[in-house]
Amino acid sequence: MENQINNSNINSYIHVGIGIAGVRSYSLGICETFTSSCIHNYRLRKFYRVYTASHVNSVFKKFLYSLDVLNNPFHVYKSRDRTYYVYKYEHNLMLLIEHIFNLAELIHKNRTLRDKKSEIVNSIIHRCRDVETCLDAIVKTIIELREKIEKRKKAGKKALLSRFENHDRKCKHIIKKYFSDLENAPTFKVSGIGFAECFEDAVKVLRKMFPNDIARGYANSICSGGNSIYLFARDAIVAIDARYDNHDVKIFCDSCRDTPNYAIVKLIGASLVDNYIDRIDWVAVLGYDKHTNQIFLHYVPRTLLFRDVEICRKWIMGLADRFGNVTQDVELIEV
């Protein structure tokens, strides 16, 4: 099969279009002609177009200026804000160019790698003598980087789990004192097959606690791909299980506060895979109003994951933005 593809490309040309970063990133095509007519007339055999930031362009240009094989294109032309470099088709050359773009995208997506971009690219270029050695070096580097990223991700997920478990212990006394039914909250399973079924089931449960529009609002959110277990509090705490697979969901208590007016705890709903935090599903503030003797629960943006419960409370009151920055200096008088 591969030979057939190779044979059909013998008289073809690789067109590499490098454009303005962020607007037109790159296009990679195999054409039967070396002129711009193939791009204009869309007589392309292959066409890749990905819009990313400046990293794709800068990484390719670094290879372009450093490797003889890339620095001597068969033809160069400009078209639609892109400079196209045309090379005679060679299977390994095509693979090399594709891997350069793969590397650039990998660097673009990872902040740590972005800081070491020059170091990574230079180390590959240093090992390049011809297309084959260059291809070998770039493939090995990509594999190494992906392994490193995977290791770092696992370590991060483990650290996150440790943090949540440690903080969870610190707030146990407040949970026990004010929200003793949290651990044994009745759970209602809603259909996870489709949105309509899930919505209908969830509204049925939520209507017993909230007015119709609020019940529908919550149901809409938890059934729109929520795939988690959500808590709701009114006179009592109930849980709605809107999962459409059977992954583990654990609820952690991250920070808490007890004042003469209220007691609040920040809750985090997280999906676990192999005992690691896989995804943060939601962040919420569960509270007890000591004047009205009523419990309440409000969801806050997940961007407040690492912020103190008091900042989350300020977001609920509209006094902090979704990153936890207190937007204005105010004197808060509350009961």
Partner: protein, 106 residues
């Protein structure tokens, strides 16, 4: 009208009801906003109400503004009373990320 204490904006919260002091010209408000009532009443689902008498309530686009001309208490059967100092306030409620909206709950 007095604006702030120590140049800070004052925000009052009684349960889920929030009154946030805003900088606004009273004459503009009287001209551009629609006068609604001389009493602020916010009903809760349990039948209780947050009440402020002797204030002017305006609708200004989608915002509800309350003009307090003299120190006025805001009362609720279940919450302690707070005395609101003179100023122009925007009426808001607590918000919930899953609902993407503000409204009273209690």
């Amino acid at each position: 009208m007095s604006q702030t204490r120590e140049n800070k904006k004052i925000v009052y919260r009684q349960g889920d009801v929030i009154l946030e002091q805003i900088d606004y010209n009273i004459r503009d408000l009287e001209y551009y906003a629609r006068f609604v009532s001389d009493k602020l009443e916010i009903s809760s689902e349990n039948g209780n109400k947050h009440v402020m008498s002797g204030v002017k309530v305006y609708n200004y686009h989608s915002r509800q503004l309350v003009v307090v001309e003299k120190p006025t208490p805001i009362t609720h059967p279940q919450h302690p009373t707070i005395v609101v100092t003179p100023g122009i306030y925007e009426l808001r409620f607590v918000r919930d990320f899953l609902l993407n909206s503000e409204r009273p709950y209690d």
